[in-house]
Every structure is written in C-alpha cells, then in structure tokens.
C-alpha cells in the first residue's frame, strides 16, 4: 500500500493534478472562514459591475484627514481618463476640418491634442457640410474640456435648512487625496458582481464547493452501483451476468442525458435540491464503471489464487473482498475520479438547460453559468460573470483527468512515457 502510494506520487501528471485539486479544495474550505458574506446576498443595485476596488465616494469626501499630493501627471491622467476614444477621433475630425494636416494630429497624445484644440477651436466657426447636431456636440465637448482644464477644486455645498440656500461647507481640491485604509467603506470585488448584483467571487467559491459535493455524491453512488453490478456479473457469470450486461448495454446506447432531462423535469423545480440532482446523476451514470469492473473481474476470475481460495471453501463474499477487490481497487479509484468529474460537468449542463438545482438555495457552477448565459454576459463582454466559472469547471475536471492519467500510467506500464 505504502509502496503503491509512493509510486503514484512519483508520477508527474498525478502530482500536478493532485496539487490543482487540493488548491481548489483548500480555497473552498479556507475562504469562507475569512469572508463570511452570504454567497447569494445581493449587494449591488444594477447588473455586472466590473471587477475592482470599490471606494465609497461619500466616505472619501468626508474623510477626516485629506492629504495633499503634488503629482505632475495628475491633470494629464484625469483628462486622459475622461476623454474617450470617440471624442478624440471627433476632435481630430474637427482639426482636419479647419485645415491642419491629418498626419500632424495624434489622437493618442493627450497633451498635444488639447494644445491643438485650444488653439484652433472656435465655436462660431462653421465647417462646410457639418450638421447642426454635430456642431452642438463640439460645443458641449469644448465645455467639458475646459471644465477638465480648470485648476480650482469642486465646492461642497449644503442646503441651509432655514433659508433653503446652498452654503459652502468645504472644498475638494484637485490635489486632495485620501488614504484608502482610512476610508470607512471599501469593498474589494475581485470578480465584480453578477447579473443579480452578487459578489461573483464569494458566489463562485460556494458554487465550487456545492458542485464538488454534487460530484462526490453522484460519483460515489455511480461507483457503488457499478462496482456491485460489475462484481456480480463478472464473478457469478451465467444468467446474472446476462441480466447485468443486458441493462448495461441498454443504458449505454440510450443517452443518459435524455433520462436525466426526463427525470429532472418530472421532479419539478421546487423539489430539485442539489442533493436530489446529485442522486439522479449518480443513478444514471453507473454504466461505464460496471463495464470496466466486470471486464477486470472476468480476467481475474480464473486466476490461480482465486481458484485456490474457492477450493479452500471460502465464501463468495470473502473471495470477493480478499481476492478480487484488492486487484481491481486501482480501477475503481480511477473510475470514481472520472465519475466525479463527469458528474460536475453533467450538473453544469443540466443547469444550462434550466433543469439544475433550484435557484434559491445554493449556487452551483452550472447555475452561475446559466444565469450568465440568460443575461447574455458572453455577448455583452462581461467576462467576469462566466469565464471564472468555466475556468473552475475546466480546472476541476482537468485536475481529475490528470490524476486519472497519472494513475493509469502507474498501473498500466505499457502507457508510460
């Protein structure tokens, strides 16, 4: 046993897969210890806030201490972030219109562009062929640019309760800074929010853990059924084997997802918990394990040590437990790993169809994917809503496949590199 384990951990593929898997498992266990938010808690009003650090504007304006930092490039940065690409191209268009050669204008160079703009822009000037709306657009653009170029700060005003007039209570200068650690409300959303306004990372960690649980339950059920049927069919042979093989062949050709769809649809949305789905998946995916176990048992059945055991009058259960199971244990473990990873994929697929676990309980990887697809995150370019989910699914299943290939190479020397 110890020797086998050592051998297994010498396989590079297995170790890589094992490390990825353990890293995910540890994340799932440790993350909730530190961040105790409810995974389905809605924190954002609006859909798909991009990833980043969210600082309360109110708190930063009212923060007790403000710092003055004199940064040379602050103005340039501020303007660069306000002027979007379309505006820059429109400015270039105007400048070309008033007769500046196009190769002297570089929309990327903010300072030079603003310089040229200030020298050449004249709201009264009419460029032939320009429609009125466009002219107004340039006037607005000019106003906002001069607003950007202003050097004074913004005034904070408060309405006087008695007279109803605005009174200045403070001033925010352009060189004022706050220290983020002194702002009362800062929320880091490493993966933004989803369509419902939930923190994607917290939701994802919970979803991985639920999906892994679904995988384990389904995998163990499928492996147990497969093991029992395979052992019975392979060892007993005769009519038992015929029956086992009949059903195995039957359910190999009848697509299992068809049964899954029919069963989950019949159960109904309200009664479909994550566990129910896991059990249903387990009961529809035992076929491959049965086949593999049966084939192994048949090859073992007439080995000398089994025959010897039979002659010594051991019971069938004893023979199976001591003379057959240890020899097929590696196959069973490999089958279990494959079953777990495929169950996670199956849950995700079912959820995409809208037949996954009910949506109010816990998130799963499939449900998160389903929500992102329904709200068209992929078309809107909100990558944080679906890509981490896909990556999580792929990593779980990749790590398990790697472990499996590693094991396969340890136990089937012919496959070794």
């Amino acid at each position: 046993m110890k020797n086998t384990l050592r051998q297994v951990f010498h396989s590079g593929k297995f170790v890589v897969g094992f490390c990825i898997f353990m890293a995910m498992l540890l994340t799932v266990i440790i993350y909730p210890l530190f961040i105790k938010d409810a995974p389905l808690g809605i924190i954002a009003q609006g859909t798909f806030f991009p990833p980043g650090i969210y600082v309360s504007t109110y708190d930063s304006i009212n923060s007790n201490t403000t710092y003055t930092l004199m940064l040379n490039d602050a103005v340039a940065k501020r303007i660069a972030s306000k002027l979007n690409n379309d505006d820059r191209l429109a400015m270039k268009e105007w400048l070309v219109g008033v007769g500046i050669p196009a190769d002297q204008i570089n929309p990327e160079d903010t300072a030079a562009l603003l310089d040229q703009w200030e020298k050449n822009y004249d709201p009264a000037k009419k460029i032939p062929g320009m429609i009125f709306a466009k002219q107004r657009y340039y006037q607005r653009l000019n106003t906002s640019i001069s607003g950007l170029l202003a050097t004074e700060g913004e005034i904070l005003a408060q309405q006087n309760a008695e007279t109803g007039t605005l009174e200045q209570i403070g001033m925010v200068n352009q060189s004022d800074f706050v220290n983020i650690s002194q702002v009362a409300n800062v929320r880091i959303l490493p993966l933004g929010t989803d369509n419902f306004g939930r923190d994607v990372l917290t939701e994802l960690v919970k979803a991985i853990s639920v999906s892994l649980q679904i995988g384990f339950i389904a995998g163990i059920i499928a492996t147990l059924i497969g093991l029992v049927l395979g052992l019975l069919g392979g060892y007993l042979g005769g009519w038992v084997d015929d029956i086992v093989m009949f059903f195995t062949n039957l359910f190999t050709v009848i697509p299992s997802f068809v049964m899954l769809i029919l069963i989950s649809y019949s159960i109904g949305q309200d009664k479909r918990g994550a566990t129910t789905i896991a059990i249903v998946i387990g009961f529809t995916s035992w076929v491959w394990t049965t086949r593999a176990v049966r084939a192994q048992v048949i090859s073992l059945r007439n080995r000398d040590h089994v025959n010897l055991s039979k002659l010594s009058g051991h019971s069938i259960i004893h023979i199976i437990l001591t003379d057959i199971l240890p020899y097929i244990a590696s196959y069973v473990v490999m089958a279990l790993i494959l079953q777990i990873s495929s169950a996670i994929l199956v849950e995700a697929s079912l959820s995409i169809l809208g037949l996954g676990p009910k949506t109010s309980d816990v998130p799963t990887l499939g449900l998160m994917m389903n929500w992102a697809m329904i709200y068209q995150a992929q078309i809107l370019g909100k990558w944080w809503a679906y890509f981490p989910v896909l990556l999580a699914i792929a990593l779980i299943s990749f790590s398990m496949n790697l472990m499996n290939t590693g094991l396969d190479q340890v136990f089937n020397p012919a496959l070794r590199d």
Binding site: N249, I254, M259, Y265, G268, L345, A348, G381, S397
Partner: protein, 334 residues
C-alpha cells in the same frame, strides 16, 4: 455472407429491444415520479388564478388530453396509437402548432450540423492520437495535456469560448441563429451564404470537443498497437515509418469505431448544448424552448427523437463495423 446476416439480424434485434425500452422509459419516467404531472402543469399555468372552479376545469382538461385519468395500460396504448400516426400532440408554448411540425423544422438543422461535425472531429482526433503515440516525445508532451484540458471543458464551455473570441471580439461570425434574422429561408445565394457563415462556429465547437476525447483514446490504443510484434517486424524489414503508422492507424481504428458507437449518445448530448449556446435552430434549442416554456409534449417528443436518432446511428455504425472488421464475420460463422 451467411455469417454477416446472422450478425446483422443480431444487431437488428438488439436495436428493436433498446428502442422498445427507450420508448417505455420515455413513457414511464415522468409517470413514475412522485406527484401528479398534470397537477404540476396546472399549477404552473394557473399561477395567479384565484378561481378554483376554473383551475379545476383546466386540470380536468389536461387530464383528458394526456389521458392520465385512465389506467396506465390504456394510457400506453393511447400513446402508442398517437406516436405511430406521428402525432405528438400540440405544443403548449407555441399553441396550437403541432409538436411534429416543430420537430420537423428542427431536425434537419441538427442532422446537418452534428453528423458532419462528429465525423470530422472523430477523424481529426484519431489522426492526432496516432501521431501523438508515434512521435511520443515533444509532440506528445504538448498535445497530451492540451487535449486533456480541451476534453475537460464541457461542451457548452468550448462553444462559449469560440463565441466570445470569434463572434463577439473578432466579429468574424454571427453570434447566434442558423441564418440571418432578416432573411426568409429560400434558395438564393444570399441565404445560402448566411447559412454557411452561421454554420461555422457551432460546427467547429463540436469538432473541437470530439477531437479532445478521441485523441486521448486513440493515443492509448496506438501505444498498445505500436508494441505488437508486426510493428517491430515491419521496422526490421525497413518499411517506411509512414506506412507503419498507416497499419497501426487501421488496427487501432477498429476499437475506436466501437468507441464511437458507445459514446455517440454523450457526443450528441454535448452537441445539443452547442446548439443552445449559439441559438442554432436545431433540436437542442427546441428542447431548451420546451423546458423554458414548460412545454411537456415538446420535451418528450424531442427526447424521443434524439433517442431514436442515437439508437439508429449506433446501429448503423455497428453494421458498418461488421463490414470493416473481418473477425466479426468469422466469429459469427463458427
């Protein structure tokens, strides 16, 4: 030919048995579930309805329509009678369109998409598998983890990634549909071109999914085959590598054909999800619409058609296999 006929009849019998079982499952599963499906449907339809007499009327109407008030044997006969006439009932979500009509318009899209894609993916995957096994070092090192990773992605994941890269970012292909939404199906060049453009992304998604799994299987198969005596002998004789790979390919291919027959169900299932991601007007998309619209007759008809298609394709592959592998004939004529 005598041995082959026996093989053929054997497989035909098996096709019939599985068809009957699949049919029974399709019929029984929703009825075996705890709870009354008709009550569930009524509850969904009657949401917000406060009139209990009205709800009762709706319930009774559906009970009559599905025949759930009759004993189960009578229901089965009724069901059989309807199916044999090609009558799948009327769709709830697209009432009063007959389900058979909806299926008819979807099935061609699915066949035209999945059949070529699965075959192409299978061929490419197997070729890559043999190459990986033969070249081993380097190529194998790169290709093996890559195809493992690709085959770890669920089918819809591959579709989403291709969609985002080629349709949303690069805008080379449209994001959804089977043809331009501004076109009416006809035989003009514009329409055919639109169909071809819309076809690419779903097609290559299915191909990519098929490649990953097949390449890995073929690699192991070929590694076994490469250690067999005839390969060593051929090497001693100084036969060109390319020719040896050809032999190995043919021999390792045979189990892969059976493998295709066995995994066809899974592959078709995956391809259905590709259709869903691309809103391709095939059976997968119809199925999703059925589920979204709580349209039980449509769901049951789609699952039935998919099962029938998979069973028939499996049968066809096995028959073909009998032709290709002479050992089958020999085994049967003993």
């Amino acid at each position: 030919m005598k041995g082959y006929r026996k093989y053929f009849l054997n497989k035909l019998l098996w096709l019939l048995i599985t068809a009957v079982f699949a049919f029974l499952l399709n019929f029984m599963l929703p009825r075996l579930m705890p709870g009354d499906p008709v009550a569930a449907i009524t509850a969904r339809l009657a949401q917000g309805m406060s009139n209990s007499t009205g709800m009762k009327a709706v319930y009774e109407q559906y009970q009559e329509q599905f025949g759930t008030n009759k004993p189960i044997s009578e229901q089965l006969i009724l069901y059989l009678k309807n199916i044999s006439k090609g009558n799948f009932g009327r769709s709830f979500s697209q009432f009063p369109r007959p389900v058979a009509d909806i299926i008819k318009s979807a099935i061609l899209w699915t066949l035209a998409l999945q059949l070529p894609a699965i075959i192409v993916g299978w061929l490419i995957g197997n070729t890559l598998g043999v190459l990986a096994a033969y070249i081993r070092k380097g190529f194998d090192k790169f290709l093996m983890p890559a195809s493992l990773f690709i085959s770890s992605l669920p089918a819809f994941g591959m579709a989403v990634i291709l969609l985002v890269i080629f349709a949303v970012d690069l805008k080379w292909f449209p994001t959804s549909g089977g043809y331009g939404y501004d076109l009416i199906p006809n035989f003009s060049w514009k329409f055919i071109w639109s169909v071809i453009v819309h076809y690419q992304l779903p097609f290559w998604s299915i191909v990519m999914i098929a490649i990953g799994g097949q390449a890995i299987g073929m690699r192991s198969m070929s590694i076994y085959e490469l250690n067999v005596d005839y390969v060593k002998y051929a090497r001693f004789l100084g036969i060109k590598d390319r020719k040896i790979v050809g032999y190995v390919f043919r021999n390792a291919m045979l189990p892969q054909i059976t493998g295709l027959a066995l995994s066809l169900g899974t592959m078709v299932g995956g391809a259905l999800f590709v259709e869903i991601i691309f809103n391709y007007p095939g059976l997968g998309y119809t199925l999703l619409n059925g589920i979204m619209g709580q349209d039980y007759p449509l769901i049951s008809a789609v699952t039935m058609i998919i099962t029938a298609m998979v069973l028939f394709a499996t049968f066809a592959i096995e028959i073909l296999y009998g032709f290709i592998d002479p050992r089958i004939k020999a085994a049967q004529s003993d």
